[in-house]
Protein backbone atom coordinates (compact mmCIF):
# COMPACT_ATOMS: atom_id res chain seq x y z
CA UNK A 1 0.00 0.00 0.00
CA UNK A 2 1.49 3.28 -1.03
CA UNK A 3 0.06 6.52 0.37
CA UNK A 4 -0.18 9.69 -1.70
CA UNK A 5 -0.37 13.38 -0.87
CA UNK A 6 -3.02 14.97 -3.05
CA UNK A 7 -5.08 18.09 -3.32
CA UNK A 8 -8.65 17.00 -2.83
CA UNK A 9 -12.02 18.65 -3.02
CA UNK A 10 -14.79 18.73 -0.45
CA UNK A 11 -17.87 17.35 -2.25
CA UNK A 12 -20.32 17.42 0.65
CA UNK A 13 -20.41 18.41 4.30
CA UNK A 14 -23.45 17.79 6.44
CA UNK A 15 -24.24 17.68 10.12
CA UNK A 16 -25.52 14.34 11.45
CA UNK A 17 -26.16 14.36 15.19
CA UNK A 18 -23.09 15.82 16.89
CA UNK A 19 -20.83 14.98 13.95
CA UNK A 20 -20.06 16.36 10.51
CA UNK A 21 -20.02 13.84 7.69
CA UNK A 22 -17.59 14.91 4.98
CA UNK A 23 -17.25 13.55 1.48
CA UNK A 24 -13.85 14.22 -0.08
CA UNK A 25 -12.33 13.26 -3.42
CA UNK A 26 -8.55 13.06 -3.51
CA UNK A 27 -6.98 11.27 -6.43
CA UNK A 28 -5.34 7.97 -5.54
CA UNK A 29 -6.28 7.89 -1.83
CA UNK A 30 -9.57 5.97 -1.80
CA UNK A 31 -8.41 3.32 -4.28
CA UNK A 32 -6.01 1.75 -1.77
CA UNK A 33 -8.32 1.93 1.25
CA UNK A 34 -8.49 -0.93 3.76
CA UNK A 35 -10.54 -0.82 6.97
CA UNK A 36 -8.41 0.65 9.78
CA UNK A 37 -6.41 2.99 7.57
CA UNK A 38 -6.80 6.74 7.89
CA UNK A 39 -6.09 10.02 6.14
CA UNK A 40 -4.25 13.12 7.36
CA UNK A 41 -5.88 16.37 6.34
CA UNK A 42 -3.96 19.63 6.33
CA UNK A 43 -5.85 22.33 8.20
CA UNK A 44 -5.58 25.99 7.28
CA UNK A 45 -4.09 27.17 4.02
CA UNK A 46 -1.24 24.87 2.94
CA UNK A 47 2.08 26.70 2.99
CA UNK A 48 0.88 29.74 4.89
CA UNK A 49 -1.08 28.29 7.80
CA UNK A 50 0.08 28.68 11.39
CA UNK A 51 -1.29 25.18 12.01
CA UNK A 52 1.43 22.74 11.05
CA UNK A 53 0.24 19.31 12.20
CA UNK A 54 -2.25 17.60 9.90
CA UNK A 55 -5.39 16.13 11.50
CA UNK A 56 -5.82 12.35 11.25
CA UNK A 57 -9.31 11.05 10.44
CA UNK A 58 -10.56 7.48 9.97
CA UNK A 59 -11.77 6.51 6.54
CA UNK A 60 -15.40 5.60 7.23
CA UNK A 61 -16.37 4.53 3.74
CA UNK A 62 -15.28 4.71 0.16
CA UNK A 63 -18.11 5.41 -2.28
CA UNK A 64 -18.26 6.13 -5.99
CA UNK A 65 -19.65 9.63 -6.59
CA UNK A 66 -20.95 10.37 -10.09
CA UNK A 67 -18.33 12.15 -12.20
CA UNK A 68 -15.73 12.09 -9.41
CA UNK A 69 -14.68 8.47 -9.04
CA UNK A 70 -14.21 7.17 -5.50
CA UNK A 71 -14.89 9.58 -2.64
CA UNK A 72 -13.79 9.26 0.99
CA UNK A 73 -16.48 9.51 3.64
CA UNK A 74 -15.13 10.99 6.87
CA UNK A 75 -16.82 11.56 10.23
CA UNK A 76 -15.68 14.62 12.11
CA UNK A 77 -16.17 15.58 15.73
CA UNK A 78 -15.31 19.21 16.37
CA UNK A 79 -12.84 19.28 19.25
CA UNK A 80 -10.41 22.12 18.71
CA UNK A 81 -9.12 24.63 16.19
CA UNK A 82 -8.28 22.20 13.40
CA UNK A 83 -11.46 20.17 13.39
CA UNK A 84 -13.51 23.39 13.67
CA UNK A 85 -11.75 24.77 10.59
CA UNK A 86 -12.55 21.57 8.71
CA UNK A 87 -16.21 21.64 9.73
CA UNK A 88 -16.50 25.22 8.46
CA UNK A 89 -15.10 24.53 5.01
CA UNK A 90 -17.62 25.16 2.22
CA UNK A 91 -18.46 22.56 -0.39
CA UNK A 92 -15.91 22.90 -3.18
CA UNK A 93 -13.05 23.78 -0.81
CA UNK A 94 -9.62 22.39 -1.71
CA UNK A 95 -8.09 20.15 0.95
CA UNK A 96 -4.60 18.65 1.09
CA UNK A 97 -5.09 14.98 1.96
CA UNK A 98 -2.45 12.32 2.64
CA UNK A 99 -3.41 8.68 2.66
CA UNK A 100 -4.34 5.99 3.06
CA UNK A 101 -2.05 5.82 6.10
CA UNK A 102 -1.21 3.15 8.66
CA UNK A 103 -1.62 -0.58 8.92
CA UNK A 104 -5.19 -1.83 8.53
CA UNK A 105 -7.04 -4.40 10.64
CA UNK A 106 -5.80 -7.93 9.96
CA UNK A 107 -8.55 -10.23 8.74
CA UNK A 108 -8.94 -13.82 9.97
CA UNK A 109 -8.25 -16.61 7.49
CA UNK A 110 -11.13 -18.74 8.80
CA UNK A 111 -14.81 -17.73 9.04
CA UNK A 112 -14.72 -17.19 12.82
CA UNK A 113 -17.01 -15.13 15.05
CA UNK A 114 -15.89 -11.52 15.34
CA UNK A 115 -16.92 -8.77 17.76
CA UNK A 116 -16.39 -5.16 16.65
CA UNK A 117 -16.24 -2.55 19.43
CA UNK A 118 -16.30 1.17 18.71
CA UNK A 119 -16.81 4.35 20.70
CA UNK A 120 -18.11 7.60 19.23
CA UNK A 121 -16.65 8.65 15.86
CA UNK A 122 -13.98 5.97 16.29
CA UNK A 123 -16.53 3.37 15.26
CA UNK A 124 -16.17 4.77 11.71
CA UNK A 125 -13.70 2.16 10.35
CA UNK A 126 -15.70 -0.73 11.84
CA UNK A 127 -18.54 -0.52 9.31
CA UNK A 128 -16.44 -1.29 6.21
CA UNK A 129 -14.61 -3.87 8.33
CA UNK A 130 -17.93 -5.56 9.10
CA UNK A 131 -18.63 -5.76 5.36
CA UNK A 132 -15.27 -7.39 4.63
CA UNK A 133 -15.72 -9.88 7.47
CA UNK A 134 -19.20 -10.83 6.30
CA UNK A 135 -17.86 -11.39 2.78
CA UNK A 136 -15.51 -13.95 4.37
CA UNK A 137 -18.36 -15.67 6.15
CA UNK A 138 -17.51 -14.37 9.64
CA UNK A 139 -20.50 -13.85 11.96
CA UNK A 140 -20.23 -10.21 13.09
CA UNK A 141 -21.42 -8.72 16.37
CA UNK A 142 -21.22 -4.97 16.98
CA UNK A 143 -20.81 -3.25 20.32
CA UNK A 144 -21.20 0.50 19.94
CA UNK A 145 -20.76 3.08 22.68
CA UNK A 146 -21.11 6.83 22.95
CA UNK A 147 -21.65 9.55 25.54
CA UNK A 148 -25.18 10.09 24.17
CA UNK A 149 -27.40 9.37 21.20
CA UNK A 150 -26.10 12.27 19.12
CA UNK A 151 -22.59 10.75 19.24
CA UNK A 152 -23.67 7.23 18.38
CA UNK A 153 -22.46 6.47 14.89
CA UNK A 154 -24.97 5.00 12.44
CA UNK A 155 -26.75 2.67 14.87
CA UNK A 156 -29.48 2.01 12.30
CA UNK A 157 -26.99 1.02 9.68
CA UNK A 158 -25.24 -1.16 12.23
CA UNK A 159 -28.32 -3.35 12.47
CA UNK A 160 -28.03 -4.06 8.75
CA UNK A 161 -24.36 -5.00 8.77
CA UNK A 162 -24.25 -7.18 11.86
CA UNK A 163 -25.93 -10.27 13.24
CA UNK A 164 -26.29 -8.68 16.67
CA UNK A 165 -25.83 -5.12 17.91
CA UNK A 166 -25.39 -3.90 21.47
CA UNK A 167 -25.55 -0.19 22.18
CA UNK A 168 -24.37 1.50 25.35
CA UNK A 169 -24.57 5.22 26.13
CA UNK A 170 -23.18 6.99 29.14
CA UNK A 171 -26.43 8.90 29.72
CA UNK A 172 -28.70 6.01 28.80
CA UNK A 173 -30.39 8.02 26.03
CA UNK A 174 -30.33 4.93 23.84
CA UNK A 175 -29.44 1.29 24.56
CA UNK A 176 -27.98 0.27 27.93
CA UNK A 177 -26.72 2.94 30.28
CA UNK A 178 -23.01 2.61 30.97
CA UNK A 179 -19.62 2.13 29.40
CA UNK A 180 -18.33 -0.30 26.80
CA UNK A 181 -16.03 -1.77 29.44
CA UNK A 182 -19.08 -2.83 31.50
CA UNK A 183 -20.71 -4.63 28.58
CA UNK A 184 -17.83 -6.16 26.63
CA UNK A 185 -17.29 -9.39 28.57
CA UNK A 186 -20.92 -10.43 28.23
CA UNK A 187 -20.95 -9.58 24.50
CA UNK A 188 -17.82 -11.65 23.87
CA UNK A 189 -19.34 -14.59 25.71
CA UNK A 190 -22.65 -14.43 23.85
CA UNK A 191 -20.97 -14.06 20.46
CA UNK A 192 -18.43 -16.81 21.23
CA UNK A 193 -15.90 -14.39 19.78
CA UNK A 194 -12.62 -15.61 18.34
CA UNK A 195 -11.43 -12.16 17.24
CA UNK A 196 -12.20 -8.75 18.72
CA UNK A 197 -11.67 -5.49 16.82
CA UNK A 198 -11.75 -2.22 18.75
CA UNK A 199 -11.39 1.50 18.01
CA UNK A 200 -11.71 4.33 20.49
CA UNK A 201 -10.02 6.00 23.43
CA UNK A 202 -7.22 4.16 25.22
CA UNK A 203 -8.99 3.23 28.48
CA UNK A 204 -11.69 1.52 26.42
CA UNK A 205 -9.13 -0.26 24.22
CA UNK A 206 -7.23 -1.42 27.28
CA UNK A 207 -10.43 -2.80 28.84
CA UNK A 208 -11.41 -4.55 25.60
CA UNK A 209 -7.94 -6.05 25.12
CA UNK A 210 -8.01 -7.37 28.69
CA UNK A 211 -11.52 -8.80 28.25
CA UNK A 212 -10.47 -10.46 24.98
CA UNK A 213 -7.47 -12.04 26.63
CA UNK A 214 -9.57 -13.33 29.52
CA UNK A 215 -12.05 -14.74 27.00
CA UNK A 216 -9.29 -16.35 24.92
CA UNK A 217 -9.84 -14.23 21.79
CA UNK A 218 -7.36 -12.34 19.63
CA UNK A 219 -7.75 -8.58 19.74
CA UNK A 220 -6.89 -5.89 17.21
CA UNK A 221 -6.95 -2.37 18.63
CA UNK A 222 -6.86 0.87 16.60
CA UNK A 223 -4.98 3.38 18.74
CA UNK A 224 -5.54 7.14 18.54
CA UNK A 225 -2.52 9.18 19.58
CA UNK A 226 -1.83 12.81 18.74
CA UNK A 227 0.08 12.65 15.46
CA UNK A 228 2.38 15.47 14.41
CA UNK A 229 3.02 14.18 10.88
CA UNK A 230 0.96 10.96 10.58
CA UNK A 231 3.38 9.64 7.95
CA UNK A 232 6.19 8.15 10.04
CA UNK A 233 8.66 10.97 9.50
CA UNK A 234 8.92 12.62 12.94
CA UNK A 235 8.96 9.74 15.47
CA UNK A 236 6.59 11.84 17.55
CA UNK A 237 3.92 9.22 18.32
CA UNK A 238 5.45 6.58 20.61
CA UNK A 239 3.52 3.42 21.43
CA UNK A 240 5.17 1.06 23.94
CA UNK A 241 4.78 -2.54 22.78
CA UNK A 242 6.22 -5.99 23.31
CA UNK A 243 7.61 -7.49 20.11
CA UNK A 244 7.02 -11.02 18.82
CA UNK A 245 10.41 -11.84 20.38
CA UNK A 246 9.17 -10.78 23.83
CA UNK A 247 11.40 -7.68 23.85
CA UNK A 248 9.87 -4.35 24.89
CA UNK A 249 10.20 -1.59 22.33
CA UNK A 250 8.70 1.71 21.31
CA UNK A 251 7.12 1.96 17.87
CA UNK A 252 5.24 4.65 15.96
CA UNK A 253 1.46 4.85 16.20
CA UNK A 254 1.07 6.19 12.66
CA UNK A 255 3.11 3.75 10.56
CA UNK A 256 3.67 0.75 12.80
CA UNK A 257 -0.02 1.09 13.80
CA UNK A 258 -2.59 2.49 14.25
CA UNK A 259 -3.87 -1.09 14.55
CA UNK A 260 -1.98 -3.20 17.08
CA UNK A 261 -2.55 -6.61 18.61
CA UNK A 262 -4.15 -5.85 21.97
CA UNK A 263 -1.85 -8.24 23.83
CA UNK A 264 1.25 -6.49 22.43
CA UNK A 265 0.56 -2.95 23.68
CA UNK A 266 1.94 -1.99 27.11
CA UNK A 267 -1.26 -0.12 27.89
CA UNK A 268 -0.28 1.22 31.30
CA UNK A 269 2.72 2.98 29.76
CA UNK A 270 0.74 4.52 26.91
CA UNK A 271 0.39 8.17 27.89
CA UNK A 272 -1.58 10.89 26.24
Amino acid sequence: MSPVHATGELLASRKVGAYHHLSVVARGVAEEFRPGTFVAVTVGTPGTSATLAPRPLWIHRVRPVGGHGLALQLVLEVRGAGTRWLAEQPVGARLAVTGPLGRPFALPKEPVACVLVGEGYSAAPLFPLAERLRERGCPVTLLLGAPDESRLLSALEARRSARAVTVVTRDGSVGQRGEIADAVTEVLRRAEAAVVYAAGPEPMLHAVAAAAEAHGAWSQCAVEQPLACATGLCHGCPVPVVGEDGVARTVRACVDGPVFRGDRVRWTELVR
Binding site: S2, P3, V4, H5, T42, P46, G47, A50, T51, L52, A53, P54, A96, T98, Q225, P226, A228, C229, T231, G232, L233, C234, H235, G236, C237, P238, R249, T250, V255, V271, R272
Partner: protein, 311 residues
Protein backbone atom coordinates in the same frame (compact mmCIF):
# COMPACT_ATOMS: atom_id res chain seq x y z
CA UNK B 1 22.06 20.84 -12.90
CA UNK B 2 25.52 20.65 -11.38
CA UNK B 3 25.09 20.46 -7.65
CA UNK B 4 26.35 22.85 -5.02
CA UNK B 5 29.86 22.19 -3.81
CA UNK B 6 30.93 21.31 -0.33
CA UNK B 7 34.46 19.89 -0.21
CA UNK B 8 34.19 16.13 -0.31
CA UNK B 9 30.41 16.10 -0.63
CA UNK B 10 28.95 16.39 -4.10
CA UNK B 11 25.33 17.34 -3.57
CA UNK B 12 22.99 16.71 -6.49
CA UNK B 13 21.08 19.88 -5.75
CA UNK B 14 20.71 22.27 -2.80
CA UNK B 15 17.79 20.47 -1.08
CA UNK B 16 18.75 18.33 1.93
CA UNK B 17 16.37 16.48 4.27
CA UNK B 18 16.92 17.74 7.84
CA UNK B 19 17.89 15.29 10.57
CA UNK B 20 14.97 13.65 12.34
CA UNK B 21 12.38 14.76 9.76
CA UNK B 22 12.68 12.05 7.10
CA UNK B 23 11.78 8.97 9.16
CA UNK B 24 14.05 6.06 8.25
CA UNK B 25 13.90 7.22 4.62
CA UNK B 26 11.51 4.49 3.59
CA UNK B 27 8.48 6.55 4.67
CA UNK B 28 9.68 9.62 2.77
CA UNK B 29 10.47 7.60 -0.36
CA UNK B 30 6.72 7.08 -0.88
CA UNK B 31 6.43 10.83 -1.58
CA UNK B 32 9.88 11.91 -2.85
CA UNK B 33 12.38 9.69 -4.68
CA UNK B 34 15.45 9.76 -2.45
CA UNK B 35 17.85 9.76 -5.40
CA UNK B 36 16.40 13.07 -6.59
CA UNK B 37 17.28 14.90 -3.37
CA UNK B 38 20.46 16.83 -2.71
CA UNK B 39 21.07 14.57 0.28
CA UNK B 40 19.21 12.75 3.06
CA UNK B 41 20.21 13.39 6.66
CA UNK B 42 19.32 10.53 8.99
CA UNK B 43 17.76 11.01 12.38
CA UNK B 44 20.48 11.43 14.98
CA UNK B 45 22.15 8.06 15.58
CA UNK B 46 23.75 7.15 18.92
CA UNK B 47 26.07 4.31 19.86
CA UNK B 48 23.41 2.37 21.78
CA UNK B 49 19.71 2.02 20.90
CA UNK B 50 17.41 4.62 22.46
CA UNK B 51 13.64 4.31 22.86
CA UNK B 52 13.25 8.10 22.89
CA UNK B 53 11.39 10.25 25.40
CA UNK B 54 7.82 10.06 26.66
CA UNK B 55 4.76 11.44 24.85
CA UNK B 56 3.89 14.08 23.96
CA UNK B 57 7.00 14.50 21.86
CA UNK B 58 5.87 16.95 19.21
CA UNK B 59 3.37 19.72 19.92
CA UNK B 60 1.95 22.41 17.66
CA UNK B 61 2.44 26.07 18.38
CA UNK B 62 1.55 28.93 16.01
CA UNK B 63 3.80 28.58 12.95
CA UNK B 64 6.03 26.13 14.77
CA UNK B 65 6.47 22.69 16.23
CA UNK B 66 7.95 22.17 19.68
CA UNK B 67 9.67 18.83 19.87
CA UNK B 68 11.58 16.70 22.30
CA UNK B 69 11.84 13.27 20.80
CA UNK B 70 14.89 12.17 22.79
CA UNK B 71 16.62 10.86 19.65
CA UNK B 72 14.83 7.52 19.28
CA UNK B 73 17.05 5.28 17.14
CA UNK B 74 18.11 1.65 16.84
CA UNK B 75 21.71 2.37 17.84
CA UNK B 76 24.69 2.24 15.51
CA UNK B 77 24.60 -1.53 14.89
CA UNK B 78 20.84 -1.50 14.23
CA UNK B 79 21.21 1.48 11.93
CA UNK B 80 24.01 -0.15 9.93
CA UNK B 81 22.10 -3.42 9.68
CA UNK B 82 18.60 -2.21 8.89
CA UNK B 83 18.45 1.46 7.91
CA UNK B 84 21.62 2.37 6.02
CA UNK B 85 21.50 -0.38 3.33
CA UNK B 86 18.01 0.53 2.03
CA UNK B 87 18.98 4.22 1.95
CA UNK B 88 22.08 3.46 -0.09
CA UNK B 89 20.12 1.14 -2.33
CA UNK B 90 17.51 3.83 -2.96
CA UNK B 91 20.32 6.03 -4.27
CA UNK B 92 20.25 8.56 -1.42
CA UNK B 93 23.31 10.67 -0.61
CA UNK B 94 23.38 9.67 3.02
CA UNK B 95 24.49 12.16 5.65
CA UNK B 96 24.55 10.42 9.02
CA UNK B 97 23.68 12.64 11.97
CA UNK B 98 25.44 11.59 15.17
CA UNK B 99 25.37 12.46 18.87
CA UNK B 100 26.88 10.86 21.95
CA UNK B 101 27.01 11.13 25.72
CA UNK B 102 30.74 11.86 25.89
CA UNK B 103 33.75 12.67 23.73
CA UNK B 104 34.94 9.06 24.05
CA UNK B 105 31.57 7.80 22.89
CA UNK B 106 31.66 10.14 19.89
CA UNK B 107 35.06 8.67 18.98
CA UNK B 108 33.86 5.08 19.24
CA UNK B 109 30.68 5.84 17.32
CA UNK B 110 32.37 7.40 14.31
CA UNK B 111 35.24 4.90 14.33
CA UNK B 112 32.70 2.12 13.71
CA UNK B 113 30.47 4.24 11.48
CA UNK B 114 33.39 5.20 9.26
CA UNK B 115 33.92 1.60 8.17
CA UNK B 116 30.42 1.32 6.70
CA UNK B 117 30.08 1.70 2.94
CA UNK B 118 27.88 4.32 1.38
CA UNK B 119 28.15 7.24 3.79
CA UNK B 120 28.46 10.59 2.01
CA UNK B 121 29.10 12.70 5.13
CA UNK B 122 28.73 12.82 8.90
CA UNK B 123 26.77 15.64 10.53
CA UNK B 124 27.71 16.15 14.15
CA UNK B 125 24.62 17.27 16.06
CA UNK B 126 25.99 20.06 18.23
CA UNK B 127 22.68 21.88 18.27
CA UNK B 128 20.35 19.66 20.30
CA UNK B 129 18.54 22.09 22.61
CA UNK B 130 17.50 19.24 24.90
CA UNK B 131 20.79 17.34 24.87
CA UNK B 132 21.46 17.44 28.60
CA UNK B 133 17.86 16.46 29.36
CA UNK B 134 18.33 13.37 27.21
CA UNK B 135 21.71 12.37 28.58
CA UNK B 136 23.67 13.57 25.55
CA UNK B 137 26.81 15.69 25.59
CA UNK B 138 25.65 19.30 25.83
CA UNK B 139 27.79 21.45 23.56
CA UNK B 140 27.50 25.00 24.82
CA UNK B 141 31.05 26.29 24.75
CA UNK B 142 33.62 26.38 21.94
CA UNK B 143 36.00 24.11 23.86
CA UNK B 144 33.28 21.44 24.06
CA UNK B 145 32.86 21.70 20.33
CA UNK B 146 36.58 21.50 19.68
CA UNK B 147 36.93 18.38 21.77
CA UNK B 148 34.00 16.66 20.04
CA UNK B 149 35.04 17.61 16.52
CA UNK B 150 38.71 16.80 17.12
CA UNK B 151 37.78 13.34 18.35
CA UNK B 152 35.41 12.78 15.43
CA UNK B 153 37.98 13.90 12.85
CA UNK B 154 40.68 11.77 14.40
CA UNK B 155 38.58 8.60 14.18
CA UNK B 156 36.76 9.06 10.90
CA UNK B 157 38.39 8.00 7.60
CA UNK B 158 39.69 11.08 5.78
CA UNK B 159 37.37 10.62 2.81
CA UNK B 160 34.22 11.30 4.81
CA UNK B 161 33.57 15.01 5.26
CA UNK B 162 32.28 16.30 8.59
CA UNK B 163 29.49 18.85 8.85
CA UNK B 164 28.95 20.67 12.15
CA UNK B 165 25.34 21.45 13.03
CA UNK B 166 25.52 24.52 15.26
CA UNK B 167 23.23 26.00 17.90
CA UNK B 168 21.27 28.78 16.18
CA UNK B 169 22.28 31.37 18.75
CA UNK B 170 22.42 34.58 16.72
CA UNK B 171 24.90 36.26 19.04
CA UNK B 172 27.35 33.37 19.22
CA UNK B 173 26.92 31.53 15.96
CA UNK B 174 29.96 33.11 14.30
CA UNK B 175 32.18 32.07 17.19
CA UNK B 176 30.78 28.56 16.91
CA UNK B 177 31.30 28.46 13.14
CA UNK B 178 34.89 29.63 13.52
CA UNK B 179 35.54 26.92 16.09
CA UNK B 180 33.98 24.33 13.77
CA UNK B 181 36.21 25.22 10.79
CA UNK B 182 39.31 25.43 12.93
CA UNK B 183 38.49 21.96 14.25
CA UNK B 184 38.21 20.60 10.70
CA UNK B 185 34.53 20.68 9.74
CA UNK B 186 34.09 21.28 5.98
CA UNK B 187 30.77 23.07 6.37
CA UNK B 188 28.34 24.22 9.02
CA UNK B 189 24.61 23.67 9.32
CA UNK B 190 23.04 26.80 10.71
CA UNK B 191 19.51 27.38 11.99
CA UNK B 192 18.52 24.18 13.79
CA UNK B 193 15.90 24.19 16.53
CA UNK B 194 15.75 27.13 18.94
CA UNK B 195 15.80 26.19 22.63
CA UNK B 196 12.19 26.04 23.82
CA UNK B 197 9.97 24.12 26.22
CA UNK B 198 6.99 21.80 25.83
CA UNK B 199 3.80 22.92 27.61
CA UNK B 200 4.78 20.72 30.57
CA UNK B 201 8.14 22.49 30.86
CA UNK B 202 10.41 19.81 29.41
CA UNK B 203 13.41 21.10 27.45
CA UNK B 204 12.63 21.02 23.74
CA UNK B 205 13.40 22.62 20.40
CA UNK B 206 11.28 24.97 18.31
CA UNK B 207 11.26 24.55 14.52
CA UNK B 208 9.18 25.64 11.56
CA UNK B 209 8.32 28.99 9.95
CA UNK B 210 8.41 30.69 13.36
CA UNK B 211 12.22 30.41 13.47
CA UNK B 212 12.96 31.25 9.83
CA UNK B 213 14.03 34.89 10.31
CA UNK B 214 16.35 33.88 13.16
CA UNK B 215 17.88 31.15 11.01
CA UNK B 216 18.36 33.55 8.12
CA UNK B 217 20.12 36.01 10.42
CA UNK B 218 22.45 33.22 11.60
CA UNK B 219 23.30 32.39 7.98
CA UNK B 220 24.04 36.02 7.08
CA UNK B 221 26.23 36.49 10.17
CA UNK B 222 28.33 33.40 9.43
CA UNK B 223 28.52 34.25 5.74
CA UNK B 224 29.77 37.76 6.45
CA UNK B 225 32.39 36.67 8.95
CA UNK B 226 33.62 33.52 7.17
CA UNK B 227 32.90 34.00 3.46
CA UNK B 228 34.74 30.90 2.31
CA UNK B 229 33.02 28.49 4.69
CA UNK B 230 30.13 26.62 3.06
CA UNK B 231 26.96 27.20 5.07
CA UNK B 232 23.90 24.97 4.95
CA UNK B 233 20.83 26.93 6.02
CA UNK B 234 17.91 25.39 7.93
CA UNK B 235 14.89 26.64 9.80
CA UNK B 236 11.33 26.97 8.55
CA UNK B 237 12.14 26.51 4.89
CA UNK B 238 9.08 25.21 3.05
CA UNK B 239 8.73 27.05 -0.24
CA UNK B 240 11.05 27.85 -3.11
CA UNK B 241 10.86 31.52 -2.07
CA UNK B 242 12.12 30.63 1.42
CA UNK B 243 14.96 28.58 -0.05
CA UNK B 244 15.90 31.42 -2.39
CA UNK B 245 16.18 33.82 0.55
CA UNK B 246 18.72 31.51 2.17
CA UNK B 247 20.63 30.84 -1.05
CA UNK B 248 20.77 34.57 -1.80
CA UNK B 249 22.08 35.17 1.72
CA UNK B 250 24.96 32.88 0.74
CA UNK B 251 23.85 29.45 1.87
CA UNK B 252 25.31 26.69 -0.29
CA UNK B 253 22.35 24.41 0.37
CA UNK B 254 19.23 24.26 2.53
CA UNK B 255 17.73 21.68 4.84
CA UNK B 256 14.00 21.02 4.97
CA UNK B 257 12.42 19.56 8.10
CA UNK B 258 9.11 20.71 9.54
CA UNK B 259 7.65 21.42 6.08
CA UNK B 260 7.80 17.67 5.36
CA UNK B 261 5.70 16.90 8.39
CA UNK B 262 2.64 18.57 6.92
CA UNK B 263 3.48 18.09 3.25
CA UNK B 264 5.69 15.05 2.68
CA UNK B 265 6.16 16.10 -0.96
CA UNK B 266 7.69 19.48 0.02
CA UNK B 267 11.29 18.47 -0.70
CA UNK B 268 10.52 17.02 -4.13
CA UNK B 269 8.63 20.20 -4.97
CA UNK B 270 11.53 22.40 -3.86
CA UNK B 271 13.98 20.39 -5.97
CA UNK B 272 11.78 20.84 -9.04
CA UNK B 273 11.16 24.54 -8.47
CA UNK B 274 14.79 25.39 -7.77
CA UNK B 275 16.01 23.37 -10.76
CA UNK B 276 14.39 25.87 -13.10
CA UNK B 277 15.65 28.81 -11.18
CA UNK B 278 18.68 30.81 -12.29
CA UNK B 279 18.76 32.94 -9.19
CA UNK B 280 18.97 29.91 -6.99
CA UNK B 281 21.69 28.34 -9.09
CA UNK B 282 23.74 31.51 -8.96
CA UNK B 283 23.31 31.58 -5.21
CA UNK B 284 24.67 28.07 -4.83
CA UNK B 285 28.09 29.02 -6.18
CA UNK B 286 30.35 30.06 -3.32
CA UNK B 287 31.24 33.77 -3.42
CA UNK B 288 34.89 32.87 -3.78
CA UNK B 289 36.72 29.59 -4.20
CA UNK B 290 36.80 27.67 -0.95
CA UNK B 291 40.30 27.09 0.37
CA UNK B 292 40.95 23.55 1.53
CA UNK B 293 39.50 23.48 5.00
CA UNK B 294 41.19 20.27 6.14
CA UNK B 295 44.67 20.93 4.80
CA UNK B 296 46.34 18.19 6.80
CA UNK B 297 44.04 15.52 5.37
CA UNK B 298 43.13 15.99 1.72
CA UNK B 299 39.45 15.44 1.08
CA UNK B 300 38.48 12.86 -1.51
CA UNK B 301 35.55 13.73 -3.66
CA UNK B 302 32.91 11.10 -3.13
CA UNK B 303 30.57 11.12 -6.07
CA UNK B 304 29.26 7.59 -5.82
CA UNK B 305 27.46 7.09 -2.52
CA UNK B 306 27.49 3.32 -2.91
CA UNK B 307 31.26 3.21 -3.23
CA UNK B 308 33.20 2.20 -0.17
CA UNK B 309 35.55 4.86 1.10
CA UNK B 310 39.29 4.16 0.94
CA UNK B 311 40.81 3.88 4.38
Amino acid sequence: MSGPQIPGLALRNPVIIAAGCGGTGRELAAYSPLDALGAFTTRTITLNPRPGGPAPRVVETPSGLVHSTGCPNPGLEGFLATELPPLVQAGARVVVSVAAASVQEYAELVRRLGRAPGIAAVEVNLSAPDAAAHGLFDVREPFHMTSVLTAVLRELPAGIPVLAKLRPDVLRVVEAARTAVESGAVAVVVGGPQPAALPDGRAAGLSGPAVRPLALRCVTEVRAALPSLPVIGAGGIGTAADARDFLRAGATAVQVGTALLHDPTAAARLVAELASDDAALAGTAPAEPSPPVRPSRPVQINTDPSQEQPR
